[in-house]
């Protein structure tokens, strides 16, 4: 019947509402996604989106998107964003402000650091179910590695490897100690 056609398909979902957050850290911010699982019509578009909020002195874990390019549009505040390519070169290391857009190509590693003020953004992904792989934190690729692999990969002791692996219990949004503020390390 008509209820199952595109004519009646749900095409709208709000992602600003904090209560819809998928990832939430009361001290650092939140991250909300909308994809084809939560808004089925996106599977036709093969697109998805997400909304991020970082409080002052907070970091979004270094990560890469395995299956999509990402376009980030800053809606409030600013954040230092670093993007690294497969050669280990920082192809972007900048403070991105409200109203500016940044493209993060698929698989490029990216980290966001809201330093002196918070930052809010919306991001669009070229896949209806964009998948993030983090490099640090409880659900990260590094956490998934055996201690020995880490110790031998980075030529560090097992104890140091354990610290790399387990020191961060959060998953995606971290509180930072402010020590990393680049604006103050000049």
């Amino acid at each position: 019947g008509i209820e199952e056609t595109i004519c009646s398909a749900k095409v709208r979902q709000n992602i600003d509402n904090p209560s819809r957050a998928d990832i939430y850290n009361p001290h650092a911010g939140r991250f909300t996604t909308v994809n084809s699982l939560t808004l089925p019509i996106l599977s036709f578009l093969r697109l998805s989106a997400a909304r991020g909020v970082l409080y002052r002195d907070s970091i979004m874990a270094p990560h890469w998107v395995t299956n999509a390019h990402k376009v980030i549009y800053i809606t409030k505040g600013e954040s230092r964003i670093q993007i690294v390519d497969h050669r280990g070169q920082a192809v972007l290391d900048d403070r991105v402000r409200q109203g500016q857009v940044v493209v993060v190509p698929q698989n490029y590693a990216v980290v966001k650091h809201a330093e002196t003020e918070g930052c809010e953004w919306v991001e669009f992904n070229t896949n209806d179910n964009a998948m993030i792989n983090t490099l640090s934190g409880r659900t990260s690729a590094i956490r998934g590695l055996p201690v020995d692999v880490i110790a031998n990969s980075y030529q560090i002791s097992r104890d140091e490897a354990r610290r790399l692996k387990f020191n961060r219990e959060e998953t995606l949004i971290f509180r930072s100690s402010g020590r990393a503020r680049s604006s103050e390390r000049v």
Binding site: G88, S136, G144
Partner: protein
Amino acid sequence: QQQGECQLNRLSPQEPTTRIQAEAGVTELWDQNNQQFQCAGVSLIRHVIQSRGMLLPSYVNTPLLAYVERGRGFYGIMQSGCPETFQSSQQMQQGERGAGSRFQDRHQRIGQFRQGDIIAFPAGAAHWAYNEGNEELVLVCLEDSSNNANQLGQFSRRFFIAGNPQQGQQQQGQYGGKSLRRERFESGNVFNGFDVEVLAEAFGVDREIARRLQGQDDQRGHIVNIQQGLRVVRPPFSQEQEEREERQEQGQYGPRMN
């Protein structure tokens, strides 16, 4: 593929055109600029890993199928968010025998492979491999650049998350010239491009350990030697091995208490 790339009047057998030497092995690359590979939308590489050699963790923007031509070992594929289901428990584990120290770890699943196996690596999933046999491990890998999981252009690119691959020795075949493919092994790892302070914050460690993540002083290349062998938590390699270990344990503790 560009339509023109499939105007193949003649086909010819292809040899690898580039060798990237590293501490414990070599990777040979077929040049994906070649029309035949362009037409098929794939690229081919062959890793030859010496005994106790480990291919450092990396991920590629294309799905990858690897065939184990020779040798055996084990590998890990990190899917972010998957649970660490391989975990050493409080009782003694195989890793502790003879080592005298308490081996504690938990990590994602470890797979084992042997000659004749095909292993599938999803696009963008970080993976590593280790040769635990006594002979060379030879992995022939096809990267499907034209797969729609790849949105990064027509070449596959390898992102290392450890080591300093640019230390490998490159030898160029008859094709000459710089190709994007070779760039994959002439580069640092992804941490290299991040600010050390931010890394230290992101991992909650001190600056020195964060600096080691970047691997700038690492001279070993992308396949490293692990002289003392790699200790991980994993099930026995085969049925016989499991029975042998069980017998050993019974010998050590008497009949297995239920």
